[in-house]
Amino acid sequence: MNAIVSVEHLSKSFGGLRAVHDVTFSVNAGEVLGIIGPNGAGKTTLFNSMAGLFPPTSGTVHYLGQDVTAWSDAQLARAGMVRTFQLMRPFGSMTVLDNVAVAAAARGTKEREAEEQAWEILQQVGLDHYATRTSKDLPTAGLKRLELARAMALHPKVLMLDEVLAGLVPTERQPVIDLLLSIRDQGVTLLFVEHVMQAVMALSDKVLVLNHGEMLAYGTPSEVVNNPEVIEAYLGDEVRNADSD
């Protein structure tokens, strides 16, 4: 198989709390995996333990055929497995350009070169107008783009996105989805946690559903949305929420 990332029997407990339990899946290079599930299902914890933020309690993570379970987040990022955060975490006092240049430089690129690359990426994600502003002055939609731009500066092979669409109004979503599609078209493998089903359906090749830390379903988007258990555990909620909006 051509799996770029494979996760086997991954579990993560915090004391007595089993946040993630026995999750197994793999993603092929160039694929897009959507991860959905109700709040508290362990989606972000799964990301965190895959991305080296804290080691899993048991199980393994392989990336490009290597066992990277014990790698730190910085090591993984430099190797091309990069994550973004649900809450935007810009380096507030730095300019938008420097925010991205720092990420490019972390790969070992020379400063000048890193700035050139950062500038190109800012044009790509449509933040070039803001390049010389400090990042704390960006609106939410801009910060989301900045998170993506920083991640792109690391030339990721695998990009793990934690709710990039959260906090955006519907009209702001489509441009970001388009951006994600263009990133995918560059051959980047995407893993993304998302509540916005519009994006999950539009982007995913496969969908993984988590509930109470366990895998509830794993398959193509259409398989998953028609799975009665998934509807019961998650999508039903989604429909009810949508009604009450």
């Binding site: 987040d73 990022a77 990069v82 350009l97 790969r107 107008h129």
Partner: protein, 345 residues
Amino acid sequence: MADQLVQTVPSPLKNRRFFDGNMIALVIIVVVAIPVPLLLQAGQESVAIRILIFAMLGLSWNIMSGFGGMFSFGHAAYFGLGAYTSSILLVNFGISPWIGMAAGMVVAAIYGVLVGWLCFRYKLKGTYFALATFAFAEMLRIIVQSAQVVNASVGYNVPLIKGSSWWLMQFPAGSSNYFWLGLILLAGCLFTTILFARSKTGKFAVAIREDEGAASSLGIPVLRYKLTVISISAAMGAVAGVFYTQFYLFIDPDLAFGSYRSIEAILIPVVGGIGTIWGPLVGSVLLAPLNDITAAILRNPPPFLDFIQGQSGLDVMLYAILIIVVILFLPKGVFGTIKEKVKRK
């Protein structure tokens, strides 16, 4: 369409050059400062030199705590290690303070990295980190104070020479050379700060200060860069210590490692502007002459202040008032506030 967009937003990278505004300002400041000792009256020169020493110390603190966000309450340690290393080498072995300075920078940097590594190893942050740096500096003071091998509480007198020598960093009292020597060293510290601020290391330092977790997730080796920043700051602090010793020709444990020194290192950038290139220099120009101004006032108070004649402690009071005013009205420091105002327009 895409081409149009590119045209409407010119690349901000086009006009990057080595001699940017900061470098030009540095050159102007140095050129303007060169004739200063020729214009001063006797006695005022020591004030000018104190400005230079304090500015170096403030710049040193500013690298680690301003840009790097690691609050140091123990900068006396770096200052003292510089002063003592060069004094020991000069007094016991007759080695030039220039070499002593290099050695002191290395010793201070090693000490800084060691203490920093210990603190980060045990995940000390914020207040706890600050307290740890304070404790280690106090520890050094007490060790030096009780160690006969470094003259304990007596300290060191720099052996006097006849005439003046750049190699031994010693000039007759009142010589303008001291000022020019200090100016060279300060220019070096400012030059280093300017390069640091625009370097990869400097940008990583700010990124780590702003959000350590995000920095790490972007592949920045956080620990390595924190320690690098500390070592640069420590080395700069040592330079200030060596120059201090060579100017006053005397050093003892309190002058070198006293907590007062650590507080000075903090106050100068706080008043001037934390995390800015020019803040420490501005802060030093404002704070360093305070002692002398208050001394002059105390000797010869204006009529309505007769009652303070001969009292002591006025400088400390003025310090306190100045700090309160700065914190209340200029929380970003004098230079920091000006910078912000200019940017807004």
